[in-house]
């Protein structure tokens, strides 16, 4: 239907037939989550950009092997994340992922009192600092699941681990995070 965004299967079919515009639409649709996933893996915006770029190229070349009916997003994220991990491996270095908070309020936020703002901001800042201080495995699984809002399947793809491992790793990461938060609160 004119004016209505094409769904993924339609875009894939068109791209497989050689429709450049269809694949470019796929790229535009998923470039943000792909870039951020690569950023979580590499900890570097520059490496993430390269990995996402390369990942989309590889995904295009592999379109023929895309299984009809499968979800496109986890498939793309797996390719991009693999590329990101390969870059980390080949460079022999992984940047420390440092997550930061945005400044100010989002549009549409209710205006809280200045005191509430200060307390809430301080709580968020400390929570994020605690997350940044976690081990890499813990930090990555929390960031993937909560900050990127990836599904279990997508998190598994992003981290290169079995989907069954995501749940147990996340559970342990949350337990450690909770312990550290409580430890900091009681100090």
């Amino acid at each position: 239907m004119e004016g209505r965004p094409a769904d993924d299967p339609d875009l894939i079919t068109r791209a497989q037939r050689g429709d450049k515009a269809a694949y470019e639409e796929i790229v535009q649709r998923y470039q943000q989550i792909a870039f951020r996933t690569a950023y979580v893996v590499t900890g570097s915006a520059a490496d993430a950009e390269d990995a996402a770029q390369e990942g989309f190229m590889k995904a295009f070349r592999a379109l023929d092997r895309f299984r009809a009916g499968a979800d496109l997003r986890p498939w793309l994220l797996r390719i991009v994340a693999n590329e990101a991990r390969n870059r980390v491996r080949s460079s022999g270095r992984r940047h420390q992922l440092e997550l930061r908070l945005t400044e100010g309020f989002r549009p549409g936020d209710a205006a809280p009192s200045p005191e509430a703002v200060a307390v809430a901001a301080d709580e968020r800042r400390r929570l994020l600092e605690t997350i940044n201080a976690l081990s890499e495995d813990d930090r990555l699984v929390i960031a993937s699941r909560y900050f990127l809002d990836l599904s279990g399947e997508e998190t598994a793809a992003a981290l290169g681990i079995p989907e069954g491992t995501v749940k147990s790793r996340l559970s342990r990461a949350l337990a450690r995070l909770k312990a550290r938060v409580e430890e900091a609160a009681s100090a």
Binding site: G18, V27, Y39, A45, A52, Q53, M57, F60, R100, L177
Partner: protein, 264 residues
């Protein structure tokens, strides 16, 4: 304190991510700059937009992807609207041991023939490098596996001063096929260890390519494009000899290859 998971979910909206770059994956055909060879206007991210970076990154991207996914050449062909038959020439992963079979079979060169018979078949004057003398073997590759106006391969099994490739068992391979110079484009794909350099071969524009086995395209005389693999693990010289695309592959130095090409 709210539930930890609720806090994390709420925190997600506050995370400051680096700006998402605009990614491009389209591969428009390159335009030829007057007197300056080809430019490759593959659109890349702004961070890679410097001229040298464009050429290098474009080549590396295609190289890595092609090397990683050799079965996907049909997809690439469709993407760039190739209409010719794609011949899948596997990139031998290691230089040894040599596969069995004749040179022509191993390297997918086509049917064995003689220089005279090949000359009668093709429309151009087959050029033989005088510094190498008469080839030891000659092969002719015709459609559908070959280009529309055929491809001739001159095989030099052993030549003094040129090592025999452990990959192919020959010293030098000279490939010739017809193409229109101003429409030729090739995207030589190189790995991270590869290089590409514009060179002059006896007055003809050419490219000196080093690195692992790689792929390239060229435009045939009828305007369609042909995809092939450069076979040797060593180096390659490609140049346009008045409408005939000549590729010299072997474990040659740059100067050796240019001298050889200029002797055609």
């Amino acid at each position: 304190m709210p539930d930890l998971e609720q806090q994390l979910t709420a925190l997600a909206a506050e995370i400051e991510w680096p700006p998402t770059p605009r990614l491009h994956v389209s591969m428009p055909l390159p335009a030829r700059r007057e007197g300056r060879g080809w430019e490759f206007p593959i659109r890349l991210s702004p961070r890679l937009s410097r001229p040298l970076a464009i050429a290098a990154a474009a080549l590396v991207i295609v190289a890595i992807a092609l090397a990683a996914y050799p079965p996907s050449r049909d997809a690439i062909a469709r993407w760039v609207n190739l209409h010719t038959t794609i011949q899948r020439v596997p990139n031998p992963p290691t230089p040894s041991p040599l596969p069995s079979g004749s040179t022509g079979e191993r390297l997918h060169l086509g049917s064995p023939t003689t220089l005279g018979a090949a000359q009668q078949k093709v429309t151009w004057k087959i050029a033989v490098p005088s510094t190498l003398g008469q080839p030891d073997e000659v092969y002719l590759k015709e459609p559908p596996s070959g280009p529309t106006q055929d491809e001739v391969a001159l095989v030099y099994t052993e030549r003094a001063g040129i090592p025999t490739s452990r990959l192919t068992g020959v010293s030098v391979l000279v490939m010739e096929a017809r193409g229109k110079f101003d429409e030729i484009f090739f995207q030589k794909t190189i790995g991270s260890e590869g290089t590409i350099e514009e060179v002059n071969v006896g007055g003809h524009a050419g490219y000196w390519i080093t690195g692992p086995p790689h792929d390239f395209f060229f435009t045939q005389a009828d305007g369609t494009r042909y995809f092939d693999t450069l076979r040797l693990a060593g180096n390659t010289l490609i140049f346009d000899d008045n409408g005939t695309l000549v590729r010299i592959e072997g474990d040659l130095t740059r100067d050796q290859a240019i001298r050889l090409g200029a002797s055609l």
